[in-house]
Amino acid sequence: MQSIQRFPGMPDRSTALRAIVRAEFLLRFRRTSSIIILLAVAAGVYFIVPEPSSGHSMIQVEGHHVLQNSAAVALATGLNCSLLLSLFGYYLVSNSLRREILSHTASVVAATRVGSLEYLTGKFIGNVLFLAVIGAGCMLSAMAMFLLRGEGTLEPLVFLATYTWLLLPMVAVVAAIALLFESVSVLSGRVGDVLYFFIWGGSLGAPVAIVQSSHAHRWLEMVDILGLTEVITQLTRRFNTENISIGFSTTNRALAPMHFAGLEFGGDALLVRLGPLVAAAVCLLIARAAFHRFDPVRIKRLSGRDRWDLRRRIELRLKPATGWLVSLTGAGSRRAGFSGAVRADVIMTLLQSPLILVAVGVFLPLTLFMDLADVRTGVLPAMVVVLVIALSDIASRDPSAGMLKLLCSVPRVRERYVLWKFCSSLAVTLLFTAVPLVRLGGGSATACISLAVGTLLLPAAATGMGVLTGAGKLFIVTVLMLLDAALNAQGVPGLDFFGCYGIATPATQAGYFGGAVLLLAAAHAKHAAAMKKL
């Protein structure tokens, strides 16, 4: 019998790792969206670095303008970049494993000698690199803006050190969480997308709580992925006040400007940034333990026999009931024309995700019997979260299932695909909002109109962003960010997009309505252009 201990093509681990990193990076970077992101980053930096003579400042301390030297510009732009990249970065890189499955390369990779940890590490580094390039794009834009609007000499090393300190641990954690969520079946997909948003929200609130508790739980600083605790601590110590804001703010030009010498990268500062790196490594190890290595048995959990995948199990149990309910309401009856196509798509949505009907059943008594004020401030925000999950894939599921060309052969759907998806999403939204709309109509006209606009806005955003990006992630993150902002700034009429506070002005309502129309128009234009190419 032949020995098989040695083979000429025995993989060189570092070569394989390099290949995975390179492929991952190239696959991400060779997309038009990457160029758009870099341009958006540059544009964002242009707006957050103000002209010093304008009366605005990037950092203000008790109304004093802080001189826009390299350290200040690096800190302010770096922090803003870190905040946004920690959120959007997740959604940008959270499809590494799913992409392998969809592109049908998964089984080829699985049949090679590459170890699972090695493979995940390659994906992780590739994603870190991709996010780091976006961060580097932001840094270079900030340096360019410094040359235009800076106050002092450009110190590239200060930029580099500040950005590295702020961004590197953060992108490591984001990339590791993305892989972890993809590896754990119950967290992959929309559930993970929504959960991550709340993790991100928690990571924003935690530093303030840590500082306010006078660092009572110092270990928590170690898991502050943004490094905000250390930044707040250093700035508070340096300027001897807590009245500090970072970002675009108005300052009193009569007060003498202040000087910021930069963050101190001493032992403590470096130590607190090690925490997130350790957390990233732990996430990666858990991801390795949960990784299915593209085993079809572990990927195809559609059978619902997997005792851990509770959501799938519930959905499969509910499928017959959903079908029965659909036939009972006559919704499945054969109707020709566009309305029939819309009805068919709604039924498809409910059959695919029977939990939507369960959610409708939960919200119905709440919206019917609770006090109207509680419905607005308590139930409607929760409804937005559920709708985000329910609507996010309606417009993007057909192209990703390879069904688009088939559906476009259906009469009246090809030309009105975007309208079709919008109407179908609107019908699902109305299952939730119809009752509160009626009740608010008799109580608060402003809230009722806002909710009506929100009822149009959410399906329009889901359809528009779904068609434009081919995925539901942008819709999820945008609406959740809007909701987060609305809940945190309850008195701001411009953020009351769903009638939660009944304070939206007619201009706000018109603005959201206009936004909905614009999104649908943009999606229609993209779809029409794609159809011309067919």
Partner: protein, 289 residues
């Protein structure tokens, strides 16, 4: 070289995809034939170490591949049924990527493989723009890049035009010498052209494994030809396994696979491999030999 012993694969849903499958194969091209849903792909995936058997063992050079999958993976070339590419990598980049995963970093070798599969002139085009045939050729190139001893190709010609199919079969034929190639398909003419041995699978089980000649012999005296009227044809069409139906002005020419003369006037003829396959599959269903 490859020894499969009592392998069973039961999915969590309870479906048994492969049932007590045993086979020992050495070098050459082995065609794995079976109707859709016979369990061929699951068996291929188990041999390719992508999924594990529920029970039984698969030995490669005497080593259990479930315990030591990397020993096989070093020497494996695998072209899955639904092979795909990264749309925005070029053919060269894609092949270099897979080569690196397999521990091969010889640029010349990658280029020569692209030449073998006639993709050298398209090496720097994005693979997403390739036709089905070109993708399959890239697929066979990636399977060969590590000079494998065992090559598994699962339904490689599905969706290819006749010219591409012939080209693909010729490539397989060329690489078959000195290696073990398992060619899984339900297209009989593909294995007929290249395979030295044919294993027939149905409902997860191995029905037989023999040379094409032996398979043909097993169907000898069980293949019949007849010319019937349209009315007669309508009467008998549901009763027998018809391997060919040809409507002509004088009537309907039929070839029938049946253990005995199906009706008076039917003449015994030499079976073709497709008919031998039909006979083998149906003899297990009906229980006759």
């Amino acid at each position: 070289m490859l020894e499969i012993s009592n392998v069973t694969k039961r999915y969590p849903s309870g479906v048994v995809a492969v049932r007590d499958f045993s086979l020992r194969i050495d070098r050459g091209i082995v065609g794995l034939l079976g109707p859709n849903g016979a369990g061929k792909t699951t068996l291929m995936q188990m041999i390719a170490t992508i999924t594990r058997p529920t029970s039984g063992t698969i030995l490669f050079h005497g080593e259990n591949i479930s315990s030591h999958p990397d020993r096989l993976r070093n020497r494996l070339g695998y072209l899955p049924q639904d092979f795909g590419v990264y749309g925005n990598l070029t053919a060269f980049e894609f092949l270099s990527y897979i080569a690196a995963l397999k521990g091969v970093h010889d640029k010349k070798k990658i280029l020569s493989l692209l030449e073998i599969v006639n993709l050298h002139s398209d090496a720097h085009r994005p693979a997403g723009a390739f036709s089905g045939g070109m993708r399959q050729r890239l697929g066979i190139a990636q399977a060969l890049v590590n000079d494998p001893e065992l090559i598994i190709v699962d339904e490689p010609t599905a969706g290819l035009d006749p010219e591409e199919r012939v080209r693909f079969r010729n490539i397989l034929s060329d690489i078959g010498a000195g290696t073990l190639v398992i060619l899984s398909t339900h297209i009989v003419s593909d294995v007929e052209a290249v395979a030295g041995n044919i294993a027939v699978m149905n409902r997860g089980a191995l029905i037989c494994c023999s040379t094409p000649e032996e398979l043909l012999r097993s169907a000898s005296g069980k293949t019949w030809e007849a010319l019937v009227s349209t009315r007669q044809f309508e009467e008998i069409r549901g009763q027998f396994r018809l391997s060919r139906i040809l409507r002509k002005p004088e009537g309907v020419h039929l070839r029938i696979v049946h253990p005995a003369a199906p009706f008076p006037g039917a003449a015994s003829v030499r079976p073709e491999l497709e008919e031998a396959f039909i006979h083998a599959v149906n003899s297990t269903v009906s229980g006759d030999a």
